[in-house]
């Protein structure tokens, strides 16, 4: 029936699986259950910030702003009252008071940062001078008081539009969260509050704001997942039942699905990767993919069994495995390659992890389909359905096979037309790709029927807006913001901002000053301007603090009057809406605002979103390119032909281009949710073409080189199996279309379109193309059937192995990846970094390496170092012993952190200088216990990597008797990523308070276990420069010790530039 190549080894392995079924099933189940025990560790992360890498500057600055001003992403409660008096009636006002108090009492709410009518103060003038009283000075239990409050508020321009709507009908309570990670719980608590609130007849309460969005998203997603995943599972089970008319395939398919999905989630939990918003799509994808492999196995098995009812079923399973293992492995590898492409191209952590873990899930499904499934089938030994047997006996085809054959006939008879059709699709796709628009609006994650969506709309309608943009102004010195020049600049910036689209409100300290000025001049509206006198302004602050709480301005200006904040409110949240505004503001700030004394920086949710979405377009096309390339490479490798690889990706390419056309037509934007569809579509869609090509090669051989017959043979069996495969995936994604999470709906739609197109293209475009071009990669196998070479298995294994290695290594690769200190610390750090180490130095360095058994190795080198403008060059020549003699190491270290250092290594054995990668700062330098970073720093501190703090003064006495009056300090890497790069969780060090040289350092590894200790001795002046002569590093984990001894140190003799060249490396000096 089907030709089996090289039966021996594969057959042996297959027999191993099939003839010891119980053990295999047992092991599979045990492994699965063991891994599942890690599932409870999985946690959710629904924050918008989770989408950005932790060291993204926009995010980092955002945190700084939060530290300084306590501002981040609030929960906003809006009270809307449509009656004549609006919210200015006793019930509504009392409601505000009640809500304010209750919300301030919640654990995760920063009580100092709750803003509402009930908390804010009115600044008025009186005969005695300025008066600062809360609006709710008198409890609003009568309409009279309510009216009075309205008069006061409406007289304070600062609050109109921001706290109170101009039409009286809406007001907000803004509450900042302490910990964004607990947003979901807080949101639930606020919901509770709102339930129990004493609302008036015409009052409507809405909850909105980023805090609410993060909070709601968690449960929103959960509800969605609880509905979608079982639905997908059910649909697929029905398809399987329909295809094979037997219960066991459906059961086994579901076990494999469970293994794939649950084990992947367990692995995520083990590696401390949270469940992000988009991780929701992963189970659905895995369900579709994991069932595909088993579909093919079942299809082949039942076909054989129906045709040979007498044959031993175990033998049949072996035959099936031998035939199907190849295409299944091919498709698994190409799918993994597609998803790994996403890992490499995405810049947002949730997408990177999505790509990576989906690849892992696919791998797990593959393993279980090749081991667990045949083993289980061997125990159950299912029979083909009666229908199948009848059809086999009468040599008939069932409906689905007939449909596929029909499709095949149309294709073969109209090959050229089919090709033209798809070429047209490809062309229109390219055209559409240029018209795609990138856009994202977080609120549109929710369906318009959702309360959050409606709340957002309502607030943005009545008030200035829920979308925040902060402009942080920084001056050089304390109290610099009292000067009129600076304040006028701020005012001008505010005014400019208000002219920009969507900016509805701008508040800053300037507005308060204007109000104070006005109130101290009899309350006349005419005086609502900025005083022109520095002393006057200082006085105003003083007077204010006398009358009220000086911390009232904490959100607008800092304690030293050096840093201020302008808060802009925008009533639109989408990237496209605000792109211009952000860019124009940046331009204005650069051209008209920034000076030596005053700088402004954008921050806030709108700014973070801008940076976040900016890269989406680029990242998408990069991901597309990388996935396509990887899949092309893997396919080419596996089929042994570049042309085969190209043919394999054509259907998938046409499907993606069709999707672009569809997106432009349906006005679906390229946003966070949709941008990753390309990698997913490639990973899923390429399976069809791989099966087609693989099957055609065998079919060509079986049909002795007859093209028409070979192509026709493709459809009834493989075509049928692929059809069910396609149904499973398409319907699995179709399920996403019913999601309530809007981006997932769009995602499901476009992947559905893409997968459908891939399937049809593989079944029509690809065969048509092959029919017309008759490529070698189909005919080769048949033409080479002479003398079954005994190494062909090795050859195949080598090819597969290399594909595995490529994919495996890439997967493993994937698996691999600054506080505002108090002035004291900064001074100390500054002193340490200012210690002179000469413009250039020549010195001999002897490295002694001792392992834990006491075995010693010694290396002698000659070293040179020289500083250039913004650059430091170092070269090291190995002199002894003989077998490393001649080795040289050259580095160009650049000052700017982003600029990558350049490194070269000369090995005498190669007689060639080799360029090497400089990025692994935490790697150990040439077998010693010092890392590249340790050596580069040379005893200085890296402020861009660490947050430093002083622990205490602590005198230090070393073993050799050296004594120092030292300060004990601590350094903690600024982010997890930096810690991982450097290899240290933290370090503590003693620095000599007289010379500012670091004497001793203790390092802790990433698991916070003591890693190594560095001790510096023999510190003395050479040529008037303090030099460290002896550095000893001991690694506590391995017991290995390295000592660097510097001798013949010379700061006087000029170090020639020509030493830092590749030629010098070859010369050895």
């Amino acid at each position: 029936m089907k030709t089996i190549e090289n039966p021996s080894r594969v057959q042996q392995l297959a027999r191993l699986v099939v003839h010891y079924p119980k053990i295999n099933v047992l092991i599979s189940l045990v492994v699965m259950i063991a891994l599942l025990s890690a599932l409870p560790l999985l946690y959710k992360d629904t924050r918008a910030d989770a989408f950005l890498a932790a060291d993204n500057p926009a995010l980092v600055y955002q945190n700084v702003v939060k530290e300084q001003f306590g501002l981040s992403d609030p929960i906003v409660i809006a009270i809307i009252n449509d009656s004549e008096k609006g919210v200015f009636n006793p019930t509504s006002l009392q409601l505000i008071d009640w809500l304010t108090e209750e919300i301030s009492a919640l654990d995760n709410i920063n009580a100092q940062r709750v803003t509402s009518l009930a908390t804010e103060n009115n600044i008025t003038g009186s005969d005695e001078g300025m008066q600062v009283d809360p609006f709710f000075d008198e409890y609003p239990d009568t309409q009279h008081i309510a009216d009075k409050i309205w008069r006061q508020v409406s007289d304070f321009p600062l609050y109109m539009g921001s706290l109170i709507a101009e039409d009286k009908k809406a007001t907000v309570i803004v509450a900042e969260l302490n910990d964004k990670g607990l947003a979901e719980i807080t949101y639930q608590q606020v919901l509770q509050l709102v339930e129990n609130a004493p609302i008036g007849q015409n009052d409507t309460l809405y909850i909105a704001g980023e805090g609410a969005i993060s909070g709601y998203l968690g449960s929103y997603i959960d509800a969605d997942a609880q509905r979608l995943n079982p639905l997908a599972g059910l649909i697929i089970t029905i398809i399987v039942l329909f295809a094979f008319r037997r219960f066991s395939p459906a059961l086994l398919a579901n076990i494999i699905i469970a293994a794939s999905v649950l084990m992947t989630l367990a692995v995520m939990a083990l590696f401390d990767v949270p469940f992000f918003v988009i991780t929701n799509a992963m189970p659905v994808i895995l369900i579709g993919i994991s069932v595909a492999d088993s579909m093919h196995i079942f299809s082949d098995y039942f076909e054989r069994q129906a045709n040979n009812p007498e044959q031993d079923k175990k033998e049949i399973i072996v035959e099936t495995l031998v035939t199907m293992w190849r295409p299944i492995t091919l498709t698994t590898l190409t799918t993994i390659a597609g998803f790994i492409g996403l890992y490499f191209s995405a810049y947002m952590p949730p997408f990177k992890f999505f790509g990576l873990f989906t690849a892992i899930g696919v791998a797990i499904a593959w393993i279980y389909s090749l081991i667990f499934l045949p083993a289980a089938m061997s125990i159950i030994q299912p029979n083909a359905s009666k229908r199948m047997v009848k059809l086999a006996q009468s040599d008939e085809l069932d409906t689905f096979a007939k449909i596929m054959v029909f499709l095949g006939n149309i294709t073969m008879n109209n090959a050229r037309k089919v090709i033209v059709f798809f070429v047209l699709i490809i062309l229109s796709g390219f055209y559409s790709a240029t018209h795609l628009s990138v856009n994202e609006n977080r609120i549109e994650t929710f369906h318009p029927s959702e309360p959050l969506f409606k709340a957002d709309q309502a607030i943005n309608q009545h008030l200035n807006g829920t979308n925040n943009l902060n402009i942080i102004i920084e001056a050089n010195e304390s109290e610099a913001l009292f000067t009129t020049e600076n304040l006028t600049q701020i005012e001008a910036l505010q005014t400019y901002a208000l002219t920009l689209e969507n900016v509805k409100g701008a508040t800053s300290i300037v507005d308060y000053l204007k109000q104070i000025h006005r109130s101290l001049n009899g309350g006349d509206k005419q005086f609502y301007w900025l005083p022109k006198n520095k002393e006057l302004i200082a006085q105003y602050f003083l007077i204010y603090s006398a009358s009220s709480d000086p911390t009232d301005f904490e959100e607008e200006i800092d304690y030293d009057y050096r840093i201020a904040n302008i808060r802009l409110s925008l009533n639109k949240g989408s990237y496209q809406d605000n792109k211009d505004t952000v860019e124009k503001l940046n331009s204005y700030i650069e051209d008209n605002f920034n000076s030596a004394n005053l700088t402004a920086t954008l921050s806030g949710r709108v700014n973070v979103n801008y940076h976040w979405i900016e890269g989406v377009g680029e990242s998408h096309f990069l991901g597309l390119g990388i996935s396509l390339f990887l899949v092309l490479a893997v396919s080419a490798l596996l089929f042994g032909s570049l042309t085969a690889g190209l043919f394999a990706i054509l259907p998938v390419l046409s499907s993606i281009l069709l999707v672009y056309a569809a997106m432009v037509l349906l006005k679906i934007n390229l946003g966070v949710g949709t941008s990753m569809f390309a990698s997913v579509a490639i990973g899923l869609g390429v399976d069809f073409s791989i099966h087609t090509i693989d099957r055609l090669r065998t079919s060509f051989k079986d049909n002795f080189g007859n093209w028409d017959q070979a192509l026709a043979d493709l459809y009834p069996l493989t075509g049928r199996a692929l059809f069910f495969n396609y149904l499973a995936i398409a319907l699995g994604f179709g399920v996403l279309i019913s999601s309530k999470v809007v981006p997932l709906t769009n995602f499901g739609t476009i992947v559905f379109i893409s997968v459908t197109t891939s399937f049809f293209a593989s079944m029509s475009f690809l065969p048509a193309l092959i029919k017309l071009t008759k490529p070698k990669f189909i005919t080769d196998d048949y033409l080479n059937t002479q003398g079954a070479p005994r190494y062909s298995f090795a050859r195949k294994a080598a090819r597969l192995a290399s594909a595995f290695i490529v994919v495996g290594v890439l997967s493993v690769v994937a698996f691999g990846k600054a506080a505002l200190a108090s002035p004291d610390v900064l001074t100390v750090v500054d002193n340490i970094n200012k210690v002179d180490d000469g413009d250039f130095v020549t010195r001999k360095l002897t490295m002694t390496l001792v392992d834990k058994r006491g075995k010693t190795r010694v290396r002698e080198t000659q070293a040179y170092r020289k500083y250039y403008d913004g650059e430091k060059r170092t070269v090291l020549f190995y002199k002894k012993p003989t077998n490393v003699k001649g080795t040289a190491f050259l580095t160009f270290d650049y000052e700017p952190v982003e600029k990558e250092d350049n490194q070269w290594l000369y090995l005498p054995a190669l007689r060639k200088v080799r360029r090497i990668s400089a990025s692994d700062r935490g790697d150990y330098f040439l077998g010693t216990d010092f890392t590249y970073e340790d050596i580069k720093q040379e005893g200085k501190l890296a402020l861009q990597d660490y947050d430093y703090s002083i622990i205490r003064f602590e005198p230090l006495t070393l073993e050799n008797g050296d004594h120092y009056d030292a300060i004990l300090m601590k350094g903690v890497p600024k982010t997890k990523a930096i810690a991982k790069e450097l290899g240290y969780a933290r370090n503590e060090f003693w620095v000599d308070s007289k010379t500012w040289v670091i004497i001793k350092v203790n390092y802790w590894d990433l698991k916070d276990k003591p890693l190594k200790t560095l001790i510096v001795t023999d510190i003395r002046k050479v040529d008037d420069i303090l030099t460290r002569h002896n550095l000893a590093a001991t690694n506590h984990k391995t017991g290995h010790k390295t000592t660097f001894v510097f001798s013949d140190v010379d700061y006087k003799t000029q170090v020639k530039d020509k030493l830092f060249t590749q030629r010098a490396m070859k010369l050895g000096k």
């Binding site: 190795r857 990025s919 530039d1057």
Partner: protein, 438 residues
Amino acid sequence: MIKSLLSASLITLMSSSIHAELSATWEQEFALSVSGGDTHAQKLESIFQPEWNTSLTDNIDMTVIGRMLLDAYDNLGFENASFDNFSDINGTITQSKHADISIREWYVDTEISNTFWRIGKQQVVWGQADGLKVLDVVNPQSYREFILDDFADSRIPLWMLNVEVPIGDNDSVQFLWIADLTYNELATQGSVYELSSPLFIPQSTDGIKLLGINQHRPSSAIKDADIGIRYSKFYAGWDLTFNYMYHYQDNPVMYQTLVENNLTINAQFERNNLLGASASKAFGDFTLRTEIAYSSDTYHLLDKSSAVFIQKQGIHQSDDVSSVLGLDWQGLENTMLSIQWFQSSLFNYEPSVIRPQHNHILSGLYKQSFENETWELEILALYGLDKRDTALQIHLSYMLESNIKLWVGTDVFSGPEKSLFGQFNQTDRLTLGLEWGF
């Protein structure tokens, strides 16, 4: 005669120098051939390599590297070594069945008005590739052990003039004049690594009698010298070179004259213009290395069945472009993974040329060190896409002391017998070695 003169002057010099450094390595390697069910010793080789560095004056340094090679088993072909590839001024001092003494390198370094001169017998390496050569054609090579030896040991140093002129801050121009007419040393008849693939050796056919092989070698040091120029530039983090060489190809071209049923082979050396470039840069954990070379005249064997065999004397001439694209990854600690794709394409092609028009070879190199670089594992795999032949070398070394290194390794070939690697299908071997430096 010339060789003894050279050694005499060397000894005189050695006794009259000012400041000298003498070092040497002693290497011992044992290879066991394990292919074809028949295990036997392949070689027991000892290599003693002394090196002497000295400063003749303040500005002039001299380096002399000598080598004494002993092989107890002679399977690698000393007995029949013809040494025909060497010019008069190159080659070994002694000729013997089991031993080989030579001056490997002997050159003088000096700097004159910011120009660097290295004059003497030396190795110059162009290009970025590992394992296979695209631009690395300045020095010929000894293929006594095929490609299994370290290139530094198998490359044949030549007497040449090597001048390097720095340009600006980061660039330089190198000029080579090679008057030493030495070419590749091929494994001799009957030795283990004798080439048999039809890609390189005309195959014998029934009914055709081989009359003889005539070798014609270039003889004029002036007319037949090789000239090379290389411009190196460091720009925006890229290491770039632009290379040109006018040289004799280091493999003789086997012209075959067939008269009635008598075949005569005329082995001649032909000129070639090589124009090439290389570029490399590190990006994060990756290093990209690329190299490309255009050769104006390359020569390839035709199949005997070819219609133009007699007219073309069994040789097809074409221009060729070769390249290598290499990617190194050092993302994991103490590990390096390097993948290279070699490609060579003939512009002018005929179906009866034995070599495929487009030749692709993939190589993968995996290196990992353990325990503070005392242990080092290296795995090199080469794979030819056309014939699907492979070469695999695995090497594990241990640094016993600072100056003593031990290793064990294996070299395995597989593939069709007529392919590049497959022709050594039966030479799979296990090696054990020791290196002692002092």
